[in-house]
Amino acid sequence: MSYASTPDPHQGRRSPKRKRSESLDPPSAYHSAASTPYPPGLDGASEHFAFAYEDDNEGDVQTPEIPEELRSSAEGTPEAGAKRRKVAERPRSLDYALQYTLKGHKRGVAGVKFSPDGKWLASCSADCTLKIWSAATGALQHTLEGHLAGISALSWSPDSRVLASGSDDKLIRLWDTTTGKALPVPLAGHHNYIYSLAFSPKGNILVSGSYDEAVFLWDVRTARVMRSLPAHSDPVSGVDFVRDGTLAASCSSDGLIRIWDTGTGQCLKTLVHEDNAPVTSVKFSPNGRYVLAATLDSSVRLWNYVEGRCVKTYQGHKNEKFSIGICFGTYGTTAPEESTADAEVQQQWALAACGSEDGSTVLWDVNSKEILQRLHGHEGTVLSVDVCAQDGAIATCGLDKTIKIYRRRATAVNGQAEGGAELKKEQDVKNSESTEEQTAIGGGGVNGTSQHVHDQQTTKEDITMEEG
């Protein structure tokens, strides 16, 4: 919670300003920008800002009254190339609200992942099971049993048909998510606990990191090791594939992040921070140009891996002990449900999310490093978080054995009543389904009693927002 170590959140936005003030003195800049053309000799960047001003003025006549902070956030959108497009104003905080609390796992839940098609949510737990839930209703679809020890890692295949899980029994299993059955041949080869997993974007390769300090690339079709990379000198806590599958990243408690060439199996780059804190999770950015990594010094860092340089440090959460999952997400000015069919018109900003050992989940704006929102609800450490690519829903899980799904409220403009009603409606649907679900599972004799009892009371109270 403490904010002391974070720098002034607007700091990051100052640089373009400074540039402009070199040639024009700041107070007159606003007025002259709209009316008079820029003097020649201004560089291209300033010209771009001239566009931004003009657009602003078109939409809103009272430009001079707009406070400086808002202005700076509008011009400093992550999309520097969005020249003539109407520049929307980046929201300074988000309004995620708890929608469902999914209960059913008997021990801590180590990981959650939305399926790539956005329909399902998979969770893996120390109770040796995986569960697949409906992302929309929160109803339990399958409980996947077969591992002999706790499960630390899971990954969806890109077609959402297969789920891979990595367990302390040293095996990786692949599950058919439509039937809930394990595929017959497990991926055996690691000499110690499986710690991390990721599918390649084509679904033909699986990368795994293990306590045996190696990274394996598996041929999914034949369930055989294609390549074993002598990656690290400590357990490999995180692995990921870049969007075109040509690179894989791995990180370890030895403090290193390594980038591998999938085709040749060679290490192309090693990233290390001066403090050498154990790295617990690594993710490529959606466009593949950066990696995000969480370290046990309560920091999440964004690296430009080509230059080997840390470009952003996100702080404000507590992470000193547990291996906590991180993820990227996007957000717009409104909840995605509200947006019309032409979704690309709506501007998107990137967010980074990480769980905290104080039970909250922190969402940062990638560019400004500001905290957009803290999601509360869990007791004890939040172990993993995932953002749904389709509707922006956020799922978290933790040591308290529960999974929570958060969704954006309706837009602030439309008022909260409407959004609240919508959420409520969905809950009702879910409750009616859950009774059926319980009987069905009771028949199977598995976890019959405690299936995802939804705690409606928490929905409103548990949400507190903190402005960044």
């Binding site: 974070t6 700091q11 990051g12 936005r13 100052r14 640089s15 400093g76 992550p78 999309e79 890109p158 077609d159 297969v162 595929l183 017959p184 041949v185 390649s200 084509k202 679904g203 033909n204 041929d219 999914v220 079709r221 034949t222 369930a223 090791v225 294609m226 870049v242 969007r243 075109d244 040509t246 690179l247 390594r258 980038i259 060439d261 999938t262 085709g263 060679q266 290490c267 192309l268 780059k269 090693t270 990233l271 290390v272 950015s285 959606p286 466009n287 593949g288 140009r289 950066y290 964004l302 430009n304 080509v306 080997g308 470009v311 952003k312 440090t313 998107q348 990137a350 560019n367 490093k369």
Partner: protein
């Protein structure tokens, strides 16, 4: 995405150097073809099956069975997106496969054994086929009812020449046929060394030229469609510049195909089994009859630049990857597929970020503030304050999109992704079984396989036996399925 991190020296290399892999065989491969995006390799076998290899895993992604068992697959031709594949066989059939589910979209009986079939570059429901002792044909199978149009065999001649040649023409057949890049014309090669250009619509020969007196074995177009490579049985490989056939103003009279280069081995009089262009047609490559090497010539100067050595057997079909310096060839005896590419050594500086690879000793000059002591907090704060650059983690640059093949195709439907089938390769390939005694077999261990990739130590003739073994253990493969 690995390009910015790759060694520029290695990236600049455009011809493969060494044998790097051997694809786990799935029968005796006789013809191979890379998909347009280069992520898949189709291999047709002497037994009529087709295997699709995933070049990222070097494993079999799909097996296609539909040609008459025991009849050699003659040719393969990919549709642009990589979803459809056309295969032809001497069993008279041409089959269009949908790789999404492995089904046969169309099976066409051409009425004669097929030498070679080429898919129309724009319309995958059209193909041209060269038939054994018959006229070549364009087949249109848009509807279930297939329409076949015969093309002329004979070169274009002035009327007075026709009668004189009547007798010889009776034995004049087409051996190869290929579409031009726009599909407006078909180029064919004949048993008497003629090259014919035929208009696809009117089905009339618009131009003919005689290259030699021996049969033409293979003609291939470069990726751009402006270069033609011809292999004939007179042991000479020819390259020919083509006019732009897609130009609507092209007059039939103005076509003139001139031989640009001739490649041959005058000393050893080698004949060439199979030829191919490199990705951008800068190089010409050929496998040699009764010899184990692949010859690579640079086309601009016409000089021999590389001889790829590798397995101890003669090589049949050779193919150059559509984008990378990566060459695949089939072994004539074993039917294995060998891969040549560039060896990429590990750069040690990549493993330790504070190390630098230098050519020679460099005197280190200490920076002014290098050993200044600052309080940790201040350092930390300074570091955080420096992080004010704009980062964009969402926008994918256009170059990358193009490489991923999504740029000019709208939506996700345009990009075909090969589905991942589990266990497709399992115990199916012959040389995975090793005979360890009379009637006894065991599977090769995984450790063995890896070393074998390079050594290529041969275990022949386990073919029929391993199938028996598979039958005994109650697993997948059945003969003549």
């Amino acid at each position: 995405m690995n390009l910015p991190l790759s060694d520029p020296v290695l990236l600049a290399q455009d011809i493969p150097e060494i044998l790097t892999a051997r694809l786990r065989s799935s029968g005796q491969a006789v013809c191979i073809r890379f998909s347009h995006r280069g992520d898949l390799l189709a291999a047709g076998t002497a037994k009529g099956t087709i295997a699709i290899f995933d070049l990222e895993t070097n494993g079999v992604a799909r097996k296609l069975k539909g040609h008459t068992t025991g009849r050699t697959v003659q040719s393969l031709s990919w549709e642009k997106s990589g979803r459809y594949l056309l295969s032809s066989s001497i069993d008279w059939k041409v089959i269009l496969w949908d790789l999404k589910d492995g089904s046969r979209v169309r099976t066409v009986n051409m009425g004669a054994p097929v030498y070679i079939a080429d898919l129309h570059p724009q319309n995958h429901f059209r193909c041209v086929a060269a038939l054994y002792e018959y006229r070549p044909a364009v087949a249109d199978f848009t509807d279930k009812k297939v329409q076949q149009f015969a093309l002329p065999n004979l070169p274009k001649r002035a009327p007075h020449e026709q009668e004189a040649n009547e007798k010889a023409d009776a034995k004049h057949f087409t051996t190869v046929a290929a579409f031009t890049s726009s599909g407006s014309h078909v180029i064919t090669g004949t048993t008497k060394g003629w090259l014919n250009v035929i208009n696809t619509e009117t089905r009339e020969t618009v131009y003919s030229t005689r290259l030699c007196s021996k049969p033409i074995l293979l003609i291939r177009l470069s990726g751009s469609g402006r270069d033609l490579l011809v292999n004939a049985s007179d042991t000479i490989i020819r390259t020919i510049k083509l006019p732009d056939f897609s130009d609507p103003n092209l007059q039939a009279d103005s076509i003139n195909l001139e031989v640009e280069h001739k490649f041959q081995d005058v000393v050893n009089r080698l004949s060439w089994n199979h030829v191919a262009f490199s990705a951008n047609a800068d190089y010409v490559m050929a496998s040699t009859l009764m010899n184990h090497d692949i010859y690579i010539w640079e086309r601009g100067l016409g000089s021999l630049v590389k001889i790829l050595e590798g397995p101890k057997e003669e090589l049949g079909a050779v193919e150059w990857h559509p984008t990378r310096p990566y060459v695949a060839a089939t072994g004539v005896e074993s039917g294995r597929i060998y891969i040549w590419s560039i060896h990429t050594p590990q750069r040690w500086s990549a493993l330790a970020p504070d190390f630098l690879e230098v050519e020679e000793n460099v005197e280190y000059i200490e920076k002014e503030d290098e050993f200044d002591i600052h309080p940790l907090d201040e350092l930390q704060k300074r570091r955080l304050d420096q992080e004010d650059e704009e980062v964009d983690v969402l926008t994918v640059d256009a170059m990358q999109l193009e490489r991923e093949g999504a740029a000019n195709l709208a939506g996700d439907d345009g990009v075909f992704r090969m589905p991942v089938l589990m266990g497709v390769d399992e115990s199916d390939s012959e040389d995975e079984m090793v005979a360890i005694g009379a009637g006894q077999f065991r599977r090769k261990s995984t450790a063995r396989e890896e070393s074998e990739l390079l050594e290529g130590d041969d275990v022949n003739d386990t073919d029929s036996m391993s199938e028996q073994a598979n039958g005994n253990t109650g697993s997948k493969r059945r003969r003549g399925d």
